[in-house]
């Protein structure tokens, strides 16, 4: 390269090398393979074949919200706080879920179980439990962290509402209802057991002694007779959850639910 051919600095990006000139480049060749005569003739209507084929396959369109959505069994939906088979809460208020939460959506305050107010086996229970569904990303790290399987996730994903407060779910909203054989806490642990027996799954239902204790201390508690109506009445649905259920039902009707 002669001296007068060197472009001024800055025009070549500083590398000092120019790209190939147009007359040095190879000619353009299309990468699409050329069709034969027959396929070229049918090409304009070949796309209808896909439609035709799908006419004979099962339909995949989900009629949500007219019909309930079908989600996979392990879908990460809203949380649920579980109970032991005698009705005591599994949550011990350890806050590991709050610790694990990448979105800082969970707030827990623990407290002491006392002889008069035993909510969970052992010394400690979760007095305050809040999940903020405006923050929650439903990643499921909280349920992996839970040492007692107190926190699991349901398939319920209908978590939209008109207010911010309505998306902060409290403990009463998250707690699962009472199943047959359970008794509404607070009540003492099964006689002769410690928290270890609960963790090992050796408690299978509320005992007569526990029922007697509840009848003595809370004569009006409807769960002590064990009827399905009583169990439902003993643990009413939390206010936030009830409001969410109303909002969801209204939205479904709006969407033409049958």
């Amino acid at each position: 390269m002669t001296e007068q051919n060197v472009p001024p600095a800055g025009m070549t990006g500083g590398t000092g090398q120019a790209g190939p000139t147009p007359d040095q480049m190879p000619p353009y060749v299309s990468a699409i393979p050329r069709r034969g005569a027959v396929s070229s003739f049918f090409a304009p209507v070949a796309g209808f074949g896909v439609s035709l084929g799908n006419m004979f396959k099962p339909m995949v369109t989900e009629e949500y919200p007219r019909e309930p959505a079908n989600v996979k069994p392990r879908f990460h939906g809203r949380h649920q706080l579980n109970r032991y088979p005698d009705g005591l809460e599994k949550c011990i208020g350890c806050e590991l879920c709050a610790w694990a939460c990448p979105a800082d959506a969970i707030y827990v305050e623990a407290a002491d179980n006392t002889d008069d107010e035993q909510y969970s086996p052992g010394e400690r229970y979760g007095r305050v439990y809040q999940i903020n569904y405006l923050r929650c990303i439903l990643c499921g790290m909280c349920i992996e962290a839970c040492p007692t399987r107190a926190l699991t996730m349901t398939n319920d994903f209908e978590l939209a509402g008109p207010t911010r407060a309505g998306l902060i779910w409290e403990k009463q909203d998250l707690l699962v209802g009472l199943a047959p054989g359970m008794l509404a806490p607070p009540h003492p642990m099964v006689e002769g057991t410690k928290d270890t027996e609960y963790y090992r799954g050796e408690v299978d239902q509320a005992t007569d002694a526990q029922r007697a204790w509840v009848r003595q201390h809370r004569p009006d508690d409807p769960s002590s007779d064990g009827t399905p109506q009583g169990l439902a009445a003993a643990v009413p649905v939390g206010a936030t959850r009830a409001a969410q259920q109303r909002t969801t039902a209204a939205a479904r009707r709006e969407g033409g639910a049958r």
């Binding site: 011990i92 208020g93 806050e95 709050a98 305050e109 623990a110 010394e123 400690r124």
Partner: protein, 855 residues
């Protein structure tokens, strides 16, 4: 003030910051290598500290920098090569505990980072420690800040090989109402027992049993499975009424490296990652202990000791640690209140300020207004009261002292205390060969002062003499020589400390005081003994010993520097000195206040009662702080116009015409000044809508058409800087002759009394777990007094004055002055001021009571 501005405009700042102590130059050093890295350390340094300096973390549990090495947990094992007698480098046959081995010249240490042997040893120890450790982490308070949890992750096996059932115990055990013990979590590092032995001296837990069942605890035969068959007799109950109790037990919770010791008040309350920590200063005593406030969502959950080697050295009293709920009590005042038709009603700030201004304006012209700020204020708030009194109210009738006072003390504070900051410090005390305590109980009235004094006493470099009516448990643990003195006769005793003295003990004290560096510490109670402070000044002059005054409340020393005394302006300037007023006027502008000493607290209240003062501005003061609460209440009822600045509803606010809410220390920034005169600035921990006293007074002054200029903390600090210290004349030293010893008739005794660390104070409201560790109320008498009064140890006595009577259990103790009966001043079941309206030195009637009292 140098807290915020490093170069004060005046020559000497009003309260200068403490100088940074010089680094110690070691006498000899040794050079060694740790993991191949060379380091030179002072002789006697432990291997684990040398590694720390290099940034090498060796796992450890029992090691604590302030406790003697013990090598109990074996977690810090390292491989050590050291030159032997023949000079050849040789490996020690077994791994060595690095927390208990001192560095030697030429030593080569290989930690877990470079030595497989050390790493395997540490893993082995960790596996054994975890063998019986329960899987309590999800419910354990220590979870998240637990050295065992952390080091099991960093230096332990990933999975457990143990298949057997773990050893379990009944848990938790209440060592005291506050301290809970989970024995199965304990790894027997003995930090708690060593703390009790080496630091506090009140051993409330110890090791017991042997082998796999070795455990920490009080000697509870029920828990130890002795089935009633006690081998050496039951544990002796101490004076607290509990088998073992301590004012410092909370420190064991803080230094426990696992969750074995927990406090009832924090149990299950939160997790470390919830908490926001703010450094602060404890507000319950004049020690200025550094603390850490841990709060969540605007609520304080716990307080921990901060690390300040100059002051509290990582330790804290239980009162400073556990008593904080008073700041969030239900009776907090949240809005200004104004009395309308006899009822206090919430009003706006504007209305309250206007009402207060109108009332004060009228009272100022009708006879004057007195100011009682109380002894619990920050320096900034006290300064605002001092300036408000002079500039706005035009009076020197301002006194922060809410306790027994005397004119002698007023003069003593002006002469000896004000303006002499950092004259005697903790460092001077620790280095002193001899300390004389007069009118001061270091454990009850200081806390940290007791811990700092105990270190040199244990080391054998210090002796302590106490001039007191009775040797308290704290004084006994300081091995103090008691010079018995009935309250009121301290002056006589101090004047007797001469060489040659009549008494062998006094002669010995005189001799020891003559040693260079000796210190005399006088307490605030000495104000009640006529002539005692003058005698202390004389003694200091005679012996060459240094003299320091130790108040009880956090705000006392700062208030003296700020000038809330009837004879003092800020910086120790006497009110009678025109030169002082000239300096003040440069900063404040012209001040229309008399250049004569104002009324002290008792006279202010008497004047309010008699109608000479038409108004009062009262800060944090409780009627039962003063010797006769009924008279205080009456004076507050009588006074024409009463303005109260309070955090919580109190007996003063109930009587006030206008009440302004003010922020407690946790909700405001400020500075406490310790007994040494050391400024202890602290930031605001919680966001708050409440404002500190100085801002309220600034607004109130504006409403009275005066500009105080103290609306922000920076403004106050700027003004303190401009004002600077005082090098002019001082208040003349008091010279009061000792009073004649009182005559004690039959059936009577001289009352001795002081406030205990844990009592019925309002600062401890809502702390039931803490209250359970308070000392039991007892009347103490000597054997001779008991015999003369017919009292028996364990029986009950009725102590009475014309105003009332108290029935308390009796204990006969040795080392006590005769003709004296001691009672706690403000215990929950023994309110001396309220019931007897008596002060130490008064004669009280003592009779045997047949009433059943709690033993």
């Amino acid at each position: 003030m140098t807290i915020t501005s490093p170069t004060p405009r005046a020559g000497v700042p009003l309260v200068p910051a403490a100088p940074v102590p010089d680094a110690l130059v070691p006498a000899a050093t040794v050079t060694l290598t740790v993991d191949g890295l060379p380091i030179t350390v002072p002789k006697g340094t432990l291997v684990v500290r040398a590694a720390e300096q290099l940034g090498i973390a060796i796992p450890r549990f029992c090691d604590h920098p302030l406790l003697a090495p013990v090598g109990a947990c074996r977690q810090c094992l390292v491989e050590v090569w050291a030159p032997g007698r023949d000079g050849n480098l040789a490996k020690m046959p077994k791994p060595q505990p690095s927390c208990a081995v001192e560095c030697t010249e030429g030593m080569q240490v290989r930690t877990q980072l470079t030595s497989d042997e050390a790493d395997r040893a540490q893993h082995g120890v960790m596996e054994l420690l975890l063998a019986n450790h329960p899987l309590d982490c999800p419910i354990c308070d220590k979870g998240g800040e637990c050295p065992l949890q952390n080091q099991a992750m960093s230096n332990g096996r990933t999975d457990s090989r143990l298949l057997d059932v773990k050893r379990t115990y009944v848990k938790p055990v209440n060592v005291s109402t506050q301290i809970l013990l989970d024995r199965e979590r304990c790894i027997l590092c003995q930090r708690c027992t060593r703390f009790c032995e080496q630091i506090s001296g009140d051993k409330f837990v110890d090791l017991q049993m042997r082998g796999a069942r070795q455990q920490i605890g009080g000697f509870d035969t029920g828990l130890l499975d002795f089935a009633g068959d006690t081998p050496v007799g039951p544990a002796a109950a101490d004076e607290s009424g509990h088998q073992f109790a301590s004012y410092f037990s909370g420190n064991t919770v803080q230094i426990c490296p696992v969750g074995a010791l927990t406090s009832a008040s924090y149990r299950f309350r939160s997790r470390p990652f919830d908490l926001v920590s703010t450094p602060s200063v404890a507000e319950h005593d004049a020690m200025g202990s550094m603390i850490r406030i841990d709060h969540r969502r605007g609520k304080v959950l716990r307080r921990l000791a901060g690390d300040d080697p100059q002051v509290n050295a990582e330790w804290l009293t239980d009162k400073d640690r556990f008593a904080f709920r008073w700041q969030t009590a239900d009776d907090r005042i949240t809005t200004p209140l104004v009395r309308r038709d006899g009822e206090l009603v919430p009003v706006s700030w504007v209305e309250a300020l206007d009402t207060a201004a109108a009332g004060l304006r009228q009272a100022r012209s009708a006879g004057g207004v007195g100011v009682l700020p109380g002894g619990r204020l920050t320096l900034e708030d006290a300064y605002a009261y001092a300036k408000f009194a002079r500039v706005v109210l035009g009076t020197n009738d301002v006194d922060h002292r809410a306790r027994v006072t005397s004119d002698e003390e007023t003069a003593f504070l002006g002469h000896q205390v004000a303006g002499r900051t950092l004259d005697v410090t903790f460092a001077d005390l620790v280095a002193a060969p001899h300390v004389v305590l007069v009118g001061l109980e270091p454990e009850e009235e200081g806390g940290i002062l007791y811990l700092r004094l105990r270190q040199p006493v244990l080391a054998g470099s210090m002796t302590v003499t106490q001039v007191a009516p009775v040797a308290s448990p704290g004084a006994r643990r300081l091995a103090a020589t008691l010079v018995p003195a009935a309250p009121g006769t301290e002056a006589e005793v101090l004047d007797g400390i001469v060489t040659p003295a009549d008494d062998a003990t006094l002669a010995q004290v005189a001799e020891r005081l003559a040693a260079p560096g000796a210190v005399i510490l006088v307490g605030e109670r000495l104000a009640g003994a006529p002539g005692a402070l003058s005698a202390a000044l004389r003694l200091a002059r005679r012996s060459g010993a240094r003299l320091a005054w130790v108040p009880r409340r956090a705000g006392e020393r700062g208030a003296i520097e700020a000038g809330t005394l009837p004879n003092l302006l800020p910086g120790g300037r006497p009110v009678t000195d025109p030169a002082a007023w000239a300096q003040i006027a440069e900063v404040w502008g012209p001040v229309d206040a008399p250049q004569r000493t104002g009324r002290p607290v008792a006279e202010i209240l008497a004047a309010a009662w008699g109608g000479e003062l038409a108004g009062l501005v009262v800060g944090g003061l409780c009627p039962d702080d003063l010797p006769d609460p009924a008279a205080v209440r009456h004076a507050l009822d009588q006074v024409g116009f009463l303005v109260s600045l309070e955090v919580r509803r109190s007996e003063v606010t109930d009587r006030a015409d206008v009440v302004f809410p003010v922020a407690p220390p946790v909700e405001k920034p400020g500075t406490f000044v310790t007994w040494e005169g050391r400024p202890r600035p602290f930031p605001q921990a919680l966001t708050s809508t409440q404002i500190p006293d100085h801002r309220v007074l600034d607004r109130l002054a504006s409403a009275l058409d005066c500009r105080l200029g103290l609306g922000t903390l920076t403004a106050v600090h700027d003004e303190l800087d401009r004002l600077g210290g005082w090098s002019g004349s001082r208040v003349a030293a008091p010279d009061v002759a000792p009073a004649a010893a009182p005559t004690v008739e039959a059936g009577h005794a001289v009352l001795a009394s002081w406030r205990l660390l844990l009592d019925a104070g309002r600062g401890q409201d809502g702390e039931e777990f803490l209250a359970g560790t308070a000392r039991r109320t007892t009347a103490l008498v000597s054997a001779a007094t008991a015999a003369a009064l017919g009292l028996t140890d364990g029986g009950a006595a009725q102590v009475s004055t014309k105003r009332g009577a108290l029935t308390v259990p009796v204990r006969v103790v040795d080392q006590m002055a005769d003709h004296v009966v001691w009672l706690p001043t403000n215990a929950r079941d023994c309110r001396v001021h309220e019931t007897l309206a008596a002060v130490p030195g008064d004669i009280v009637a003592v009779t045997v009571s047949d009433e059943e009292v709690r033993a």
